[in-house]
C-alpha cells in the first residue's frame, strides 16, 4: 500500500496509537509496527480506514470495530474482533479463544485455526475460518453465520438461537439444542457469498453441512431440565 501512515509501538504508547486510529478525521491506510502482542490494539475504530497490524496481537484486537478494515499479519489473542459492529477483520494466522464474541455485524476472517468458543454469543457477525474451531464454538449464538472450513470441537452450537453454522470437516459433537439442517438454495447462496468475501472460493458450498437450532430450549419445559 502506498502512502501508508505508520505508527510504531516501540516509540509510542497504546493510547497514542489508538487515539490516532480512532480520530474522526482518520483516513487512508495505516500500519502498526512492533505490535509485540499488545492488548486492545485498534479497538473502537469508527471510520472506514485500512489498518495493518504488523505482527502478533494480544487480547481484543479490533474490538467493537465499526467500518474499519483491519488486518492482523500474525496470530490474534482472545476475543479478536469482539463485539464488532461492522467493517472487516482479517487474521492471517491463528486466533485464540472467543474470536468474534458477541459481534453484531461485519466480517471476521481467520486464515488459520480458532480456539474455543469461536463466535460465542454472536449477534449478527459473520465469521469464516479456514482451519478448525475449538470446543463450545457458537455457544448461545443468536444470529449471524459461522463458516468452518476445517473441523469443529465438542459441543458445537450449544444453546443456539438463530445463528447458522456451516462446517466442512468433522464435528466432534453437537451441543444441546443444535442439530443438522437441510441446506436450502438460500443457505448455499449465503455460504458462497461468505466464502467469496473471505477469499476461500476453493471450497465448494456443497461440501459443507449446515447446523442450526432445534428450538427445543426456547421455552422452559420440565422435560428439558437437564439441558439447562
Amino acid at each position: 500500500m502506498s502512502n501508508m501512515q505508520e505508527i510504531d509501538l516501540a516509540r509510542c504508547t497504546l493510547r497514542e496509537a489508538n487515539s490516532q486510529l480512532q480520530s474522526e478525521d482518520a483516513t487512508g491506510a495505516w500500519a502498526i509496527r512492533n505490535p509485540r502482542g499488545r492488548h486492545a490494539l485498534a479497538v473502537g475504530l469508527t471510520t472506514p480506514i485500512d489498518v495493518l497490524i504488523d505482527g502478533q496481537a494480544g487480547y481484543y484486537a479490533a474490538g467493537m470495530n465499526q467500518h474499519a478494515n483491519i488486518t492482523i499479519d500474525g496470530n490474534a489473542g482472545p476475543g479478536v474482533a469482539e463485539n464488532m459492529m461492522s467493517g472487516r477483520t482479517h487474521v492471517r494466522g491463528n486466533a485464540s479463544m472467543a474470536a468474534g464474541a458477541t459481534g453484531h455485524g461485519g466480517l471476521l476472517v481467520i486464515d488459520g485455526d480458532a480456539g474455543a468458543r469461536c463466535g460465542i454469543s454472536m449477534k449478527g457477525i459473520d465469521i469464516v475460518v479456514r482451519g478448525s474451531v475449538g470446543h463450545m464454538s457458537a455457544f448461545m449464538a443468536q444470529s449471524g453465520t459461522l463458516v468452518v472450513c476445517g473441523d469443529a470441537g465438542e459441543a458445537l452450537g450449544d444453546s443456539l438461537y438463530e445463528a447458522k453454522i456451516f462446517v466442512r470437516g468433522e464435528v466432534k459433537s453437537l451441543g444441546a439444542d443444535c442439530e443438522e439442517k437441510a441446506m436450502t438454495a438460500e443457505d448455499i447462496a449465503l455460504l458462497q457469498s461468505l466464502l467469496e468475501s473471505a477469499g476461500m472460493t476453493e471450497y465448494p458450498a456443497d461440501s459443507f453441512r449446515l447446523y442450526g437450532s432445534a428450538r427445543r430450549l426456547y421455552h422452559f419445559h420440565v422435560d428439558n431440565a437437564a439441558a439447562y
Binding site: 486492545a40 474490538g63 468458543r117
Partner: protein, 445 residues
C-alpha cells in the same frame, strides 16, 4: 356413669416450624409442576440488617451540628482513580441497574427523571440503553454484562460510566432470565433474540475469565472510551474481601457490592433465598480490603441490597461505603405494592406488600411489564416526581443523623458513631455491642 368425652380438651392443630405452610405449599407446587419456582425481588427471609445498628448521637463528649443552619454536605465523586471524567453526584444514593425489559420504558424514564432531579445517577441493565433512558438521565451508568445484549460502542461513548457486572446480590454466580411474556418485539430487537422466547443470559462473560483477563478487558473498554469513563465492577456479596481486592487489582475505579436482599427481575426462589451474604455482613470485609490496599476512598465503594431509608444509607456510609444504590425501594416509590392495587393483586393471587411475580409481566402498577396497556398506567413524570421526593427524603434523613453525630459531611460518619444491638451484627460489622466495647472476635470483654 356420665359421658365425659365431650369435656376432654382437644389440642389445637399445630403447624410444624420445619414444614411450615409456605414450605408445604412449595413442595405441593413443585410436585405438581416439575419446575422450580421463579420470582422477582430479593430474599424475604429475616436477616441481620441495618436495623441491628444504632447511631450514638452527640452529647458531652461530642457536639452536634445545628439542623437547618449548619452545613452537612452530601456530594460524592466517583471514579477518581483513573477516569478522566469522574462522576459527581449531589447525594450518595444512586439507582441500581435494572433493565428495559425487566422494567417498562415508562418506569425507566421515571427513574431517570427522578434521579436527575436530585443530581444523582441511574443505571441501565441487561438489555442495552434506550434513547428515552439516556435522554432523561443526566448521569447514566451503562452496564456491561455477560449477555452483551444491545452492547455497542456508541452507547459506551454516550454513557457517563461503565459498570462491568460480574454478579448481583440476588444470585451471585447465576445468569439472567427474562421470560417470554416480557420479550416484546422491541425488547427482542434490542437483544437480537426471537420474540416471545424464554431468554437465558449467561452467568460468565464470553471473552474473559478471572481477574487477570478482567484487567485486560478494562483496558480495552478504557481505550474504546479514551479513558474518560469511570469503570465500576459490580459483584454479588459472597467473598467480599477477595472479590473487592481482585476488582481493585483489575483496575476498577469503583466497586459495587450488592447484598442478597438486592432484587432481581426473575430468578429461582431457591437461589434468591440460599445463595450470598446479607449486605450487613459484606461491607466491613470490603472496606477492610480497600484499607489493606491503601485504596479506601480512592476506589469508591457503592453498596446495595435492602437499602430503604436515610438511616440505612447513613449506616452504610459510617461502615465505610462511599455511596449506596437502591432498586426495590425505588420500585416501591414508583407505586409497586400500592394498597390501591389490592383488588388487582388479589386476582394475581397475592396482596400488596407480597407481590413478587415481577417475572411474568402482569404488574398492575405498570412497572415490571412490557404490556402496553399496563405500562401506560405509569405516568413517567409523576413517577419521576415520586422518585425525586423519596431520594430527597433519604438524603435529609441521612443529614439529620449525621448532624446529630456532629458531622459536616455524610462521609465523615465513621464506625465509632455506631453500636450493634445483636451479637450477630456486632460480629459481622466489628461494631461493639451496645453498652460494651466488645464485639465477637475481639480479645477481652
Amino acid at each position: 356413669m356420665t359421658d365425659n368425652t365431650k369435656k376432654i380438651p382437644r389440642t389445637k392443630p399445630r403447624f410444624s416450624a420445619t414444614f411450615d405452610p409456605f414450605t408445604i405449599s412449595e413442595i405441593q407446587r413443585a410436585a405438581a409442576t416439575g419446575i422450580y419456582d421463579i420470582r422477582g425481588a430479593g430474599t424475604k427471609r429475616k436477616l441481620p440488617h441495618f436495623d441491628d445498628l444504632l447511631f450514638l448521637g452527640a452529647s458531652v463528649s461530642r457536639y452536634p451540628l445545628e439542623g437547618y443552619r449548619e452545613r452537612c454536605d452530601t456530594d460524592v465523586v466517583l471514579g477518581t482513580r483513573f477516569a478522566r471524567k469522574p462522576i459527581r453526584l449531589k447525594t450518595p444514593v444512586t439507582i441500581a441497574g435494572m433493565s428495559f425489559g425487566a422494567l417498562s420504558a415508562q418506569a425507566k424514564e421515571a427513574l431517570g427523571r427522578g434521579a436527575s432531579a436530585v443530581g444523582t445517577s441511574t443505571t441501565t441493565g441487561d438489555g442495552g440503553m434506550t434513547p428515552e433512558e439516556r435522554g432523561h438521565s443526566s448521569t447514566l451508568v451503562y452496564q456491561y454484562l455477560p449477555s452483551r445484549y444491545g452492547m455497542n460502542p456508541d452507547d459506551l461513548r454516550r454513557a457517563d460510566a461503565i459498570e462491568v457486572v460480574v454478579g448481583q446480590g440476588a444470585k451471585p454466580g447465576g445468569g439472567g432470565m427474562l421470560l417470554g411474556q416480557k420479550i416484546s418485539r422491541r425488547v427482542a430487537k434490542m437483544r437480537d433474540l426471537p420474540e416471545g422466547i424464554d431468554q437465558r443470559s449467561a452467568c460468565r462473560h464470553p471473552d474473559w475469565t478471572g481477574p487477570d483477563d478482567l484487567e485486560i478487558k478494562i483496558e480495552e473498554l478504557r481505550e474504546i472510551t479514551a479513558w474518560e469513563k469511570p469503570i465500576y465492577i459490580k459483584v454479588g456479596a459472597s467473598r467480599p474481601y477477595y472479590d473487592v481486592s481482585l476488582a481493585v487489582k483489575a483496575g476498577a475505579d469503583v466497586v459495587v457490592l450488592d447484598g442478597m436482599q438486592g432484587g432481581t427481575a426473575a430468578t429461582q426462589e431457591v437461589f434468591i433465598e440460599h445463595v450470598g451474604l446479607p449486605i450487613l455482613a459484606a461491607i466491613r470485609p470490603a472496606v477492610q480490603a480497600l484499607q489493606d490496599l491503601g485504596m479506601h476512598r480512592k476506589v469508591q465503594l457503592i453498596v446495595s441490597g435492602g437499602i430503604r431509608s436515610g438511616a440505612d444509607m447513613a449506616k452504610a456510609l459510617a461502615l465505610g461505603a462511599d455511596a449506596v444504590a437502591i432498586g426495590t425501594a425505588a420500585l416501591i416509590a414508583l407505586g409497586d405494592q400500592s394498597p390501591d392495587l389490592a383488588e388487582e393483586y388479589a386476582r394475581l393471587g397475592t396482596v400488596p406488600g407480597a407481590y413478587d411475580d415481577w417475572q411474568d409481566g402482569r404488574d398492575p402498577a405498570g412497572i415490571t411489564t412490557q404490556d402496553p396497556e399496563l405500562a401506560a398506567r405509569l405516568d413517567p413524570i409523576l413517577g419521576g416526581r415520586r422518585i425525586a421526593n423519596y431520594l430527597s427524603v433519604m438524603t435529609m434523613e441521612a443529614q439529620a443523623i449525621a448532624r446529630a453525630c456532629g458531622k459536616s459531611h455524610l462521609h465523615n460518619l465513621e464506625p465509632e458513631d455506631l453500636v450493634a444491638l445483636t451479637m450477630e451484627a456486632a460480629a459481622m460489622t466489628r461494631i461493639p455491642l451496645a453498652g460494651t466495647e466488645w464485639y465477637p472476635g475481639k480479645q477481652g470483654f
